[in-house]
Symmetry: C2
Subunit: 378 residues, 2 copies
């Protein structure tokens, strides 16, 4: 439970006492799915490296160099016996804000959407929340209208559009583990698709685009789960069965199944381009940054964060229609793979992300207590 | 938003400033379903009658003589456009505890299971939570283990069994609206079943018991919803289709559909007895108290709260097997309908319930501030 310096001793100088509050669904870091958990892990370890005193609230099977307060024994997606998820939100909020009220942190950085807002209002320590999902959901505006002062961070500027009145303090782009994603200077001949099989992600369109330009398409994805109980799962299964499965038999289309972290560099790096013909307001799109880190440019539909992550004509091509995206696939030799890798290093590395959050935290701290931060406004 | 006396003015003497925090699913009071909401309504209005300063946090379509802080515009079960229910828990917690932190209440009485616990720890005002549901759910013990000091009230002693270590401050039995439930001194010839059609409630057993003793059975229930998406709804529909529907054609069985408040007195009061052959840990069982208020004794299986609500040999018969319950139906002339009505008045009236909660609240208040309460421990 930590030494005395955790208690009631505001940080001075360069380091801060930072709580990272993660969702309880996946281990930190996750082994497969879990984009939010992956980003929380990269941020936490980078902040520890920089000398901050970081406390991570996460499932007990997580791994971190930070002080670790377990919220559940086992991440919820790994525990079939789990009860109502409300129980675990409640435990996480209790553990984090009980300690915040004791003055153990300079700042609480939450990754639980709006769930921290009621507790955050009740303690002196400021909370800042990174919103990791799409924000055009029914009812969300009414939640934010009730908590107008809660500080929030977007993962792209475009993500903010449905909630213009929220108390936005920064956009901090997500990071990917650039050092572990190997740069492939040559690339290969195929187009790559990596993502869930759901209409938003555009696999159907990717296959048609690849067929139009006569290029092979390699598809890395998990098949939707069959026989599960949510309407979303059933819709995804129907989409796979009726729309996608027949198209996977088209010439040049190769379904490689799910790729883990170890295979991801090769899958992305040996591609000619990542094909990303999404049709939803993507808040960030980690796979675009991963592809760039491997040196592979991105051909994407202009939705959500795409124009912020991809630089049109430098690290990829952005279009609107399937025809425009097909045409873009014929112009890939105009793009430099080195520029893709460099963009990932300069914009989406853990170090750059941590610096963005460091500035955001300092902007919320009392300048009298934290003189070192007085100059660094986000 | 109330007058100045709401702010930072602890109550003295006999009245208290009480927050009632209701779930957002149904109007207060509900028009049909919603046992918790019905009890919250009766309690709120009775406390107002007694001169307490009551603030009710509930959906905007609720009706109350208390100060009303709307949490959602329309109760969630009445609004098909509703988003994620987490949003509305968050709004409710924010509205209630922001005001609690300002000192607007002497006590917060919550009806949101464990959801208030993290906020409750962060304010000086004590919170007491009535637990309205069954407590043998997976994971619930781990939640209570993290919040050992949160004061909780049971609606029956038996309800406490799965959580013996919780900070129980009282058992307060639920009330029914005794004055509006008409006393039928004569009763009638049929056995009554009133409840959802789900295996726990024992409609199958009720039909077999009625057939065994050759008495008519009138069944008041809504048919399960067909084609909805939760596993529970689908299981209930299958149970209805395969088990119950054929049995409803048995001689003497009459399905009367859903009964509203207006018809309930006649349906229950004109019965010879209420048949309640449940097989689950019923935490209270409002229909038993409603039946007694109408003068109708109860024949029930010994589960959960049954031995606390029904006095064996006075207001009903309690048994274990279907055979015992069938035999009990032949001995109903030994029970006095006047005793049933009297038991409802003496044990399950809103006034008795409000007195129980009044004592519980005072037991949690600082005795130096609330001298009038120093003698009344629950």
């Amino acid at each position: 439970m930590g030494s005395e310096r955790y208690l009631n001793q505001p940080a001075h100088g360069d380091y801060m006492r930072i709580a990272q509050v993660a969702p309880p669904f996946e281990q930190i870091p996750p082994t497969q799915y879990g984009g939010t958990e992956r980003v929380v892990s990269l941020l936490t370890e980078e902040l520890v490296q920089r000398g901050h005193e970081v406390t991570l609230f996460a499932s007990g099977d997580s791994t971190t160099d930070a002080r670790h307060i377990p919220t559940v024994d086992t991440a919820l997606w790994r525990d079939p016996e789990v009860g109502n998820e409300l129980m675990y939100w409640t435990i996480t909020l209790g553990e984090a804000y009980r300690r915040a009220a004791r003055g153990e942190f300079d700042i609480v950085h939450a990754h639980l959407d709006f769930l921290t807002f009621p507790c955050a209002e009740l303690v002196d320590t400021p909370t800042v929340t990174t919103l990791h999902g799409r924000l055009d959901l029914p009812g969300l505006q009414s939640v934010f209208a009730r908590f107008p002062r809660q500080a929030v961070i977007s993962i792209s500027d475009s993500q903010r559009a449905p909630l213009p009145a929220a108390n936005w303090v920064a956009t901090v782009y997500n990071a990917v583990n650039v050092p572990s994603l190997r740069y492939h200077p040559q690339g290969g001949a195929y187009l790559a698709f990596l993502g869930r099989i759901t209409p938003d992600k555009g696999l159907e369109q990717a296959i048609r685009i690849a067929r139009t330009v006569g290029m092979p398409l390699h598809v890395a994805a998990r098949k939707p789960l069959r026989g599960t109980d949510t309407p979303q799962d059933r819709a995804d299964w129907d989409y796979y069965r009726t729309v996608i499965r027949p198209l996977l038999r088209e010439p040049g289309v190769r379904f490689v199944g799910e790729v883990g972290d170890a295979e991801k560099s090769d899958f992305l790096g040996k591609a000619r381009a990542l094909l990303f013909p999404i049709d939803w307001p993507e808040p960030f799109g980690l796979v675009m940054a991963e592809s760039l880190a491997c040196g592979t440019p991105v051909v994407a539909r202009r939705r959500g964060s795409v124009p912020e992550v991809v630089e049109h004509g430098v690290t990829g091509w952005i279009g609107e229609t399937d025809e425009e995206l097909a045409h873009a696939c014929t112009r890939l030799d105009l793009l430099d793979r080195g520029a893709c890798r460099a963009a990932a290093e300069q914009r989406f590395s853990p170090s750059v992300m941590a610096s963005g959050y460091d500035r955001a935290y300092r902007s919320l701290l009392d300048p009298d207590v934290h003189r070192s931060s007085a100059l660094s406004r986000v």
